[in-house]
């Protein structure tokens, strides 16, 4: 085992799942945090206690429980805002990153909204990349279909980097939406450069930070983005909660998305006025306890320290890339160096289907990896492969677990020899 700056054994004790055994006494080797992360006691207990003793609806209620819930819910917004260097009024709670991305997509081409930055029609262009998660492709396809706008994209090089060709972003581009870090390749994209190019032509830029915010210190101002989306369940927070950050001025300019209670100022039968952001985009009873759980997750991550987490994952990635190089007939899809990449390593094994790899790793070794196209089918088509096996690391992983993965892969090759 290689030691890193984190006291991983202590951290693992915070996550109750690591105290369980899988059926047949297999230990759990969880290398699937890119899919969803495990939860520390702090998050679980914060949610339990709130549900048990302090729960009520927020905003509307004027009694003790209502005040306690509202304070906890809005306090979570403060925490999340602080975590990414944002102002609290710019933090919109959604149910996941996908809702956040769709919210932005639905802001464009709404005939009711005349702000020129958000009008969209034939001739206008939307730009994404070939390495996006489906959640950052399909909303834009649907938008293009509804409005007649054109969807364009940056390609990906053989090394798994963006091919920053000229002519993709043009004077006709209205919005550029791109992953901060790829959920398959691990590649960290040059988002500041992309923001520069987008702003140069008057376009807006949205960063899908689902895979970066959990793993690196992220400051939304420094990224020079207009919108940033991320999701609670990948950052040791609960399911059911996501975040859209946007510049206040843009939230004001955008039309409402979901209509309903809490997003209004006044309602008559024939018209309504809307609450200021962020509430304007939070229709109905929000994921109250989930936001509070995300606040606890932010406390937990901050307590450990994002820099330390980043450094630890870097060590794990270095170790994994080296170890996988020793496995015969294994090909890493994505950057093979540590430069501008995070702790997600995807690979293929010659002649063996990833589904078989994943199942045997799980079945025989308790190693949980993800297999398939990881909601990035176009990227797999680009590499001419139907699927990959993906190992993704987080603060609670050890080099010993990477050893277990490698042992498992050798066994897989024996089974299918």
């Amino acid at each position: 085992m290689t030691s890193t700056s984190l006291d991983v054994e202590r951290i693992r004790k915070d996550f109750p799942v690591f105290s369980r055994e899988l059926p047949d006494g297999r230990p759990l080797v969880y290398l699937d945090s890119g899919n969803s992360s495990q939860k520390p006691n702090l998050v679980i207990e914060t949610m339990r206690e709130h549900l048990a003793l302090h729960y009520s609806n927020v905003g509307r209620a004027m009694h003790v429980l209502g005040a306690e819930s509202t304070e906890a819910y809005e306090g979570a917004r403060d925490k999340v805002a602080g975590f990414v260097g944002a102002s609290r009024d710019e933090v919109v709670f959604t149910k996941n990153a996908s809702e956040a991305l769709n919210l932005v997509a639905y802001s464009f081409g709404n005939p009711v909204n005349t702000d020129p930055r958000f009008t969209l029609g034939p001739g206008d262009e939307i730009v994404v990349t070939e390495m996006e998660h489906h959640s950052n492709i399909v909303p834009w396809q649907l938008l293009a279909q509804r409005t007649g706008a054109t969807l364009k994209w940056f390609g990906v090089t053989d090394e798994g980097r963006l091919d920053l060709a000229d002519g993709v972003i043009t004077e006709r581009t209205k919005i550029v939406s791109v992953a901060h870090q790829s959920n398959v390749l691990g590649t960290v994209n040059p988002v500041v450069e992309l923001a520069r190019r987008a702003h140069e032509v008057g376009a807006l830029i949205l960063l899908d930070a689902s895979q970066s915010v959990p793993h690196h210190p992220v400051d939304v101002a420094a990224l020079d983005a207009d919108f940033v989306a991320f999701t609670g369940h990948k950052m040791v927070g609960p399911s059911g909660i996501g975040v859209l950050w946007a510049r206040a001025e843009l939230l004001d300019a955008m039309p409402p998305f979901l209509g309903g209670g809490e997003m209004i100022e006044a309602v008559w039968m024939d018209r309504s006025t809307y609450a200021p952001a962020p509430h304007k985009f939070e229709a109905g009873t929000p994921p109250i306890v989930e936001a509070i759980g995300l606040g606890a997750a932010v406390d937990y991550l901050t307590g450990v320290g994002l820099e330390a987490i980043e450094a630890h994952e870097r060590e794990l990635t270095r170790y994994a890339l080296e170890a996988l190089r020793e496995v015969p007939r294994l090909r890493v899809i994505g950057p093979e160096t540590l430069e501008a990449r995070g702790g997600t390593v995807s690979f293929t094994m010659e002649g063996i289907h990833p589904h078989d790899v994943g199942q045997i790793l799980d079945d025989q070794f308790g190693v949980a990896v993800r297999v398939g196209h990881h909601c990035a089918r176009p990227l797999h088509l680009r590499f001419g492969i139907p699927a990959t096996t993906r190992a993704s690391f987080y603060l609670y992983n050890t080099t010993g677990e990477i050893d277990a993965l490698v042992r498992g892969l050798h066994h897989v090759q024996k089974v299918f020899a």
Partner: protein, 145 residues
Amino acid sequence: MIGESMYQELILEHYKHPQGRGLREPYDAEVHHVNPTCGDEITLRVKVDGDKVLDVSYDGQGCSISQAAASVLHELTTGSSVAESLSVVDEFTRLMQGRGQVEADEDVLGDAVAFAGVAKFPARVKCALLSWMAYKDAVVRSAAQ
């Protein structure tokens, strides 16, 4: 654990040494089925004479489960009657969709009982069924001609 595993010796055997693989002539119907979620594909041909299945030939790519299932399908159907083979398909489908709760009828299924363990993995059930659904489709089409 070994007993629970879905990688029965028999499945691996069929995967490594597929029976009847390759597309052959003559045939009455050819179908191409794809599982878009995992990319598994199969092209399958049937040659039927009256009530008798003369040949089931196929080619495809995918995981061991989908490939072995095609091999077992070939063995169980080629040479049997159409009606009999379709009842095997039905029993196999019932087993696969039973979420691991269904007892397999070994008399009907023969080698295909080895797939019982797959039924507990919803994500893999489609792999096992790919070729069997393709076969059913092909038989229907051949009858329609």
